[in-house]
């Protein structure tokens, strides 16, 4: 019995696209950080970039959509953790200031 029967059997173009997306998003995040160091919206933008990168790895490389629901939830929770914490610290810091 082949438990991999439903999975892709040829190197998928989406793997290469995922790599391009990850390089592009990482470069975008670095450029935003360098160009808009003081901007109030920077944490929100970086949070979005971090969430997108994690989601790309989970979907394209880890084949999250075919995975057991427990694995899907572990991945989604962890990938959302840093962006949510970034937003929380930014909002609390602004309200404290």
């Amino acid at each position: 019995m082949d438990k991999n029967a439903a999975l892709p059997r040829r190197p998928q173009p989406n793997l290469a696209w995922a790599w391009c997306a990850l390089v592009g998003l990482s470069a975008l995040g670095a450029l935003l950080g360098a160009a808009f160091h003081e901007a109030g919206w920077l944490p929100a933008a970086v949070a979005l970039v971090v969430w997108l990168k994690g989601t790309v790895v989970a979907r394209a490389f880890l084949e999250e959509r075919q995975a057991h629901p427990f694995i899907r939830w572990v991945l989604r929770l962890f990938i959302a953790f840093v962006p949510l914490a970034l937003l929380l610290v930014a909002v609390l810091g602004r309200s404290a200031g």
């Binding site: 990850l22 990482s26 950080g33 057991h68 427990f70």
Partner: protein, 198 residues
Amino acid sequence: MSGLAIAMPPPPAADRRIPGNHGIWVGITCEFVEFALLFSVYFIARAHYPEAFAAGGARLSSLAGGAITLLMITSSLFIACAVVSLRAGRRRRSILWLGAGLLAALGYPLVKYLEFGWNLEHGVTGGAGIFFTVYYYLTLTHLVHAFWGILGMLWALGRHLAGAYTPERHDGLEALASYWHATDIVWLAIFPLLYVMA
């Protein structure tokens, strides 16, 4: 024949697969919990010392951070290609992809070694302030996890060369790939927190 048919477990539904095996997902879940705790330390420190975190990143080598990011996502791509190639029955190509993934992954400790040397030359030590304590704590822990992944790649490459994996049965290779992709996800969060946001 009917007895055999009854004894066979049903195939997993298309959306209930375990990539690799159960054991590696216990490990990956533990890795995520460990880094969630470390990230919590980062955010608590950042909330209490915003000036130290705003100034700290400028003293790090963004070139090293960018190079490690490129190495991590490239090795992840190569290892994903190794799994998909093996599923297609292309064993030799799968071995080459895995070897390429290992080579790219080995670049990570090399760049980290050079980065730590550069840090010491510029006075960036663990005692240089709260930001740098958190930086060394996070990056060294991630480096340890990357070492486990590199050892796993060496083991999987040896098993692959010995013919242990087939298009139908390659749980070990897929477990390694899952672990490395998870370690990649962790780095993709560390990079902006230390090198971009700060």
